[in-house]
C-alpha cells in the first residue's frame, strides 16, 4: 500500500474546484484510492460525496492511499492537487 501525507493549502480546503479535480483524477485509477484526515477513517477518493463530506479545511493534513500498478504516479498527482494553493 502506497500513501502520501499532504497538507491541503487551498483557501477553500478540499472543496469546489480542488475537490472536483481531485475526485476526477482519482476516478481514472483502475484500483481503489482512499483519502482520510490524519488519524481518521479513509473514504473513497473517487466519490465527490465522500470527499465533500470529509470536509477538509485549509491547513489540515490528509493521507491518500492506493495499491496497484501505477499507484505512485496517481498518488503523486493527487498530492499535487491537494497541496496546490
Amino acid at each position: 500500500m502506497a500513501e502520501r501525507k499532504v497538507s491541503v493549502e487551498s483557501e477553500v480546503g478540499l472543496h469546489a474546484r480542488p475537490a472536483a479535480t481531485f475526485v476526477q483524477t482519482a476516478a481514472k485509477a483502475p484500483f481503489d484510492v482512499t483519502v482520510a484526515k490524519a488519524g481518521g477513517q479513509p473514504v473513497s477518493a473517487k466519490s465527490i460525496l465522500s470527499v465533500l463530506a470529509l470536509d477538509v479545511r485549509q491547513g489540515e493534513s490528509i493521507v491518500i492511499s492506493a495499491e496497484g500498478e501505477g499507484a505512485d504516479e496517481v498518488l503523486d498527482r493527487l498530492a499535487e492537487i491537494a497541496a496546490a494553493s
Partner: protein
C-alpha cells in the same frame, strides 16, 4: 427557492458549468429574501452557510450551492435554519439568505443543484424556466 431554472451551463464557474462536480441544474433565484430548502428527503451530511449536501436513504447525495464564490463571505448573510446531521423532508428550509444582497456584493447568486457521483445519463427531465419552491428540478434514475 423560487426563480428560474437556467441549467448548469449558465453558472459563471467552470467547476459547475462543466459539470465537474456532477450533473444537475442551476437556479437563478428571485432577488428577494428567501429560503433554500432540502432538495430531497434525507440527512444533512454537510452544512456550510453557503452550501449543503443532503443524502437520501438510498445513499445518494445532492449538493446545493448558494451563489458563486460565496465561501468568501464566511457565512455573512446566511442564516442556518437546520443543523448538520438533521433529518429533513424535501422542501424543508435549510438556509435563509437574500440573493439581492449577494448580487449587491458583486457575486452571482445563482445556485447549482448537483447530483453527486451521478453520471450525466442518469439525469433526465431537467426543469427550465420559472420555478417555485417544491417544483421538481430533475429526475435521477
Amino acid at each position: 427557492m423560487s426563480g428560474s431554472a437556467v441549467g448548469l451551463a449558465a453558472v459563471p464557474d467552470p467547476v459547475f458549468s462543466q459539470a465537474m462536480v456532477g450533473p444537475g441544474t442551476a437556479i437563478d433565484p428571485e432577488r428577494a429574501p428567501g429560503q433554500a430548502v432540502a432538495p430531497i428527503t434525507g440527512t444533512i451530511v454537510k452544512l456550510h452557510p453557503h452550501a449543503y449536501v443532503v443524502v437520501g436513504a438510498d445513499g445518494r447525495g445532492v449538493l446545493v450551492h448558494l451563489g458563486i464564490d460565496t465561501v468568501q463571505l464566511r457565512g455573512e448573510g446566511f442564516r442556518l435554519l437546520a443543523a448538520e446531521g438533521d433529518h429533513v423532508e424535501a422542501g424543508q428550509p435549510v438556509v435563509g439568505w437574500n440573493p439581492a444582497e449577494i448580487e449587491a456584493g458583486g457575486r452571482s447568486p445563482i445556485c447549482p443543484v448537483v447530483a453527486l457521483d451521478a453520471s450525466a445519463e442518469s439525469i433526465s427531465d431537467v426543469a427550465s424556466g420559472r420555478i417555485v419552491v417544491g417544483d421538481e428540478l430533475f429526475q435521477w434514475s
